[in-house]
Structures are given as structure tokens and as C-alpha cells.
Amino acid sequence: MQLYHIALNNLRRRKARMLFVLLGLSIGMATVVAVYGLLEAMKAEMTRRASEFGANIVITASAGEMAFSYGGITLPEVMFDVEPLTMADVAAIDNIPSRPGVRVVAPKLLGVSTGGGREVIVAGVRPQEEFRVKPWLRLQEAPPRPERKQMAEEKGEAMELDIYYLDLARQDPTKTVLGPRQVLLGSAVAETLGVNSGDRLTLGGQEFTVFGLLKENGSLEDELVIMNLAAAQDLLARPQEVTVIELTTANPAAAEQALLAELSQALPGAQITSVRQETLRRDELLTRMARFGMAVSALILLAGTLVAALAISGSVRERTREIGILRALGFRQSHVAKIIMLEALLVSLGGGILGYAAGVSAARAAGPLLDSGTLAVPWQLDLLAATLLLSLAVGLSAGIFPARQAARLDPAEALRFI
């Protein structure tokens, strides 16, 4: 028999008290784990989205902005003196010293045209560049034509009716070449206009052929009629004009400042935004939230520690006579303290495991509610290890005072020898 047998047997005997301490520690640990898990998952999701967002730098036209306020109600900002970007600005980017570090320059013109009796948003792009900065875009292959379906039925074969999607930027670069009179349609606008691949579409009096449809992706592209930049400039009667230039860089973060400075110098009238810096700003906000969350968790954990300390201390008082017997049988003060600390250790270990399981489960349940179903909180071994370490630290802190109290018990007093 060892000291831990005594600790373990005592815990078994005092199940209610042990469960009380276990619950206190578990709740504290679960709160910390849930808050930490959620915040880490939110950070990871933000980083993932930022990395998925192909453009690193976005250049737009500069304009004056003014917000009008009426009796404390502020209306959206009004823009004035907009100085549009031009193809000369796109060319200017090619001349900056850091140009080799820029992988893709994707200029784009946005405007409104009419088609099928409705207003549609036209995006003039350089297709190959555009699809490189937006690698998530997929082309929806045309459904099987009726005659093929009929042939298949005549042969008694099962016809593959599934629509599959082509990765425009990677798998089939030839698909990203649009003719001057060809357009790609976002899924929503295609449905609105009631057109399909191969159909003809009249926009602003000009006739185009629908080259293909884009797979629905839930973003702006679903609403766009995409065509070559030059065709859009012609259609919208805005020659040489560009609304936005998106850049994808291969530069490390350290070189980004230099690139931004060169761009500012080359395009003095433009507004240049770094997506990374924007992300960092949001990250900072998230860090503040994290600090607040962790502070609240720390308070709950402190309360859990105090509950545990009080419960263990109560247990020591209950066992005064028993501790006196152990001391009379030759247990040193340090042996008695070790027994109490071992009990605290065992309970805190259990509290850590339970707290981790409960915390991650809670975070997994809460994640989808916070982030429209996409936030995933994983089971992580390193978080489990950290939780156990924290839990042990909390348990040991809670055990120190009762252990000292137990060790300092006067054995004669404990045995009431008088």
C-alpha cells in the first residue's frame, strides 16, 4: 500500500464531497476551454477566409466621402469627386520595382446594363487573372442536352445527369478564355434572366453568347454578368476606365510595406487597402474579445478553485481524528500533506478531463450558432494537455491550504488525549 491508496480510498468513501469538488473544477475548466476553443476557432476561421480570399491588395478609386447626420441618425456616406482608375494605372503597376513579387494584377470594371428587360451588373475582367485571384470560382458544366439524354434512354443506359463543376483557374485554363462577344453568368442572374449555356443574351443593345454558368458560391459573383474588360468598357461606354484592381502577391509580410509604399507612389490618387492589415485589425479586435473572455473564465475558475479549497478544507476538518491516528502511527507532516495534495491532484485530473470534454462539446455546439454553421471547434490533444496542466495547477492551489492545515494538526489534540 502507498500513500495514494489512502487518498484514493478516501475519495471513494466521500463520493458526494468528491463529486462536488469535481463539479466545481469541471465547470471552471469547461468555461475556460469553451471560451478559448471558440476564440481559437474564430481566429483560425478568419485566417482561413483571409487566405482563401485571393487578393492581398485591393486598389480602388479615391473619392471624397461625407456622412450626413439628421438628429443623431447617420446616413450612409456620400461619395463625391470620384477620380476613376484607368488602364494607365494598371500599366503603372507593371513599372514598380516590386512588380516581380506581384503574381496577379486583376483589373475590373463594374457597371449596370440592361438585359432581358432587367438591370444587371456587368463585370469586365481579364478572365485568366480574375479566376486566379478568385480560385474558388467554378464553372457549371452545361446539363446534358436533350438529344444525348434521349440516346442514352434508347440504349437503356443510365444517363449521368449530375452537373459537375470545372475549376476554372487550375484544371481547365482554356475555359477561362472568353471571346469578345461571350459572357459568363453568375447562377442567380442566369436564373433571373432564364438563360443557359449556349443561349444568346442582349445587353445594352449588344448581343452576346452565354459561354457558361458559374456554380453558386453565395457571394457577389452569383449576381454578375462577366465579360472581357474591353467589351465591358465598350458596352458601358467607359473606355479605359477601371473600377477596382485586385493584386495577389507572393511577397512575405515583411515586404508588403515596401510594396504598399511603391503603389502609393505610383498611384497617388488611388485608395490602396491591404487585406492582411485589415485582417490584423480584426485579429486585434478578436484578441481583445479573447482577453475579456479569458478574464471572465479566470474569475469562474477562481470561484471553482475557492469552492474546491473550501470543500477539501472541510474534508480535512472532518478527518481530524483520522489524521491524528496517522500521525501517531508515524506519518510525518509531509506524508499527511502529500495525502491531501494527492486527493486534490486526483480530483483536479478528473476535473480537467471532464472540463475539457464538456468545454469542447459546448464550444462545438455553440460554434454553429455564432458563425452560421461554419465554425468548427476541433478536439485537440495540445488543448487537452494544456487543460490538464491548468487543472492540476488549480487543484494543487486549492489543496495547498488544506494540506498545510492537515499537516499542522496537533496529533495529541486530534486524538483528544487529555
Binding site: 500500500m1 491508496h5 480510498n9 481524528r321 491516528i325 502511527l329 508515524g330 510525518r332 488525549f417 487529555i418
Partner: protein, 242 residues
């Protein structure tokens, strides 16, 4: 001249309380030889248990000296005194004082827990002493599954498992019926015959028959008066007769 195991010189113990001081021991001088069996008698409050706790290295005296096997036990540090208790003393407490959530075997193992003996050896020793006190078949029972006499036997086994030279017992038969009490006293006598020095606090004059010497405490002092001893015995006899 026989070797002295326990030597007390002018031992005094005073407890302070709100009502004033209580003089539990007022100068006890006593030698107990190795292998001797001594019964300590006296009325309640006479200082018996205080004397036992001081000899048990649990309760420092207010003044005077005490040596066990030549060791001034209160000159030792707290932790060394704990080691001393483990190596030199076996305790049999009033009302057995077994740990309720440990089996008989585990209770007996307690004094060995903090020793450096191998686990198997500890278990062998505990099983041997339990066999010796007649509990071979009940080693794995919890105290509440044992009779009073059996619990007392476990307490005795626990007191002797580390082979101490001195056995201290406080009212070991106080909670037992006469027959079981006699059996336990026979066990004490047997242990004494094996060379163990036994010091037993008791209210029961019948127990003194099993002990080689009886000393009586009165108001914190040793009473040498034979008549006093006889009066204690007679008082006990009257109560039993009544």
C-alpha cells in the same frame, strides 16, 4: 539491574484554559524496564491519558524529562519524532480507531506505508500479524464488517506490525464484553512474553492480573498507596456486583 526502557523524571504537564491552568501531571518520576508490562490506573482526570500521550511522543511535557531507550524524544524535531513513533512505538487507541474506508489488511499496513520496505514484504508482515491475532480469514473486510473484538485485534495487529519495542494501549478493553476482553488481555500478555514492553491505561482492575506491575495516578501524581489501589479494585467490584 534490568535495562530501563522508559525513564520519566519530574514530568509535569499544565494545560492553559480560560478558567485558569489545569495541572494534568505534577511531577511524575517513573522507570519502566524493557519487557515489563505496566498497567496505569486512576480516576478520570488523574492524568493517565496525558501520561500516555507524552510517552507516545505526541504531547510535549511542560517540564521534566523523558527518555525512551535512552533517546530524549522531545529533543527530536517534529518529523524525526514521527519517525521515532513509527520505529519504537505501537499504539492501541480507545475505541480501536481504525480507518473506516480501509480493509483490515490495509489498516494493518498503515505503519509500514512510509517505510522503505518492498511492497511484497510489507504485505507479508501485515498478513503474518493478522494471522497471529486470529484474523487470517478476515483480512479483506472493512472495519464495519468486523465485531468489536475483531476490530480490537486489527488495532493490536496494526500496533505491532512494525515490531516496535514498546506497546502503548489506552483502555483496550473498554468497549468489549468480559469474555472478549479476557481474550484481548491474553493477547497482550503473550506479546509481553515475547519481549514487548507494554504500558496500558485501564479502568478495569481485572486487567491488572495480566500485567506485571500496576501504577496508580491520582491528581497528576503517582500514588504508591496500596490501599488506594485496593480501593480502586473494590470500587470496580462493587459496580460489577451492583
Amino acid at each position: 539491574m534490568a535495562d530501563v526502557m522508559i525513564a520519566l523524571r519530574e514530568l509535569k504537564k499544565t494545560y492553559g484554559s480560560a478558567d485558569g491552568e489545569v495541572h494534568a501531571l505534577r511531577g511524575v518520576t517513573l522507570d519502566i524496564n524493557k519487557g515489563e508490562a505496566v498497567a496505569v490506573m486512576g480516576h478520570s482526570g488523574s492524568g493517565k491519558s496525558t501520561l500516555l500521550s507524552i510517552i507516545g511522543a505526541l504531547n510535549p511535557p511542560s517540564s521534566g524529562s523523558i527518555e525512551i531507550d535512552g533517546i530524549d524524544i522531545y529533543a527530536l524535531s517534529q518529523e524525526r519524532r514521527a519517525d521515532f513513533r513509527r520505529e519504537y512505538l505501537g499504539f492501541v487507541f480507545q475505541q480501536f480507531q481504525l480507518i473506516p474506508y480501509l480493509t483490515a489488511l490495509e489498516n494493518v499496513l498503515l505503519p509500514l506505508v512510509t517505510t522503505s520496505l518492498p511492497g511484497r514484504r510489507k504485505r507479508e508482515l501485515a498478513e503474518q500479524v493478522l494471522c497471529r491475532v486470529g484474523l487470517a480469514g478476515k483480512m479483506n473486510r472493512l472495519p464495519n464488517a468486523l465485531s468489536g473484538g475483531e476490530q480490537e485485534r486489527v488495532a493490536i495487529a496494526r500496533a505491532i506490525v512494525n515490531a516496535p519495542p514498546v506497546l502503548l494501549a489506552d483502555e483496550p478493553t473498554g468497549n468489549l464484553d468480559t469474555k472478549t476482553g479476557e481474550e484481548i488481555m491474553a493477547l497482550f500478555r503473550e506479546l509481553n512474553q515475547d519481549g514487548l514492553t507494554v504500558l496500558m491505561v485501564t479502568h478495569n482492575p481485572d486487567n491488572t492480573r495480566h500485567m506485571g506491575r500496576t501504577i496508580v495516578l491520582k491528581d497528576g501524581l503517582l500514588c504508591q498507596d496500596k490501599a488506594e489501589i485496593l480501593s480502586l479494585a473494590a470500587g470496580r467490584g462493587q459496580r460489577r456486583g451492583g
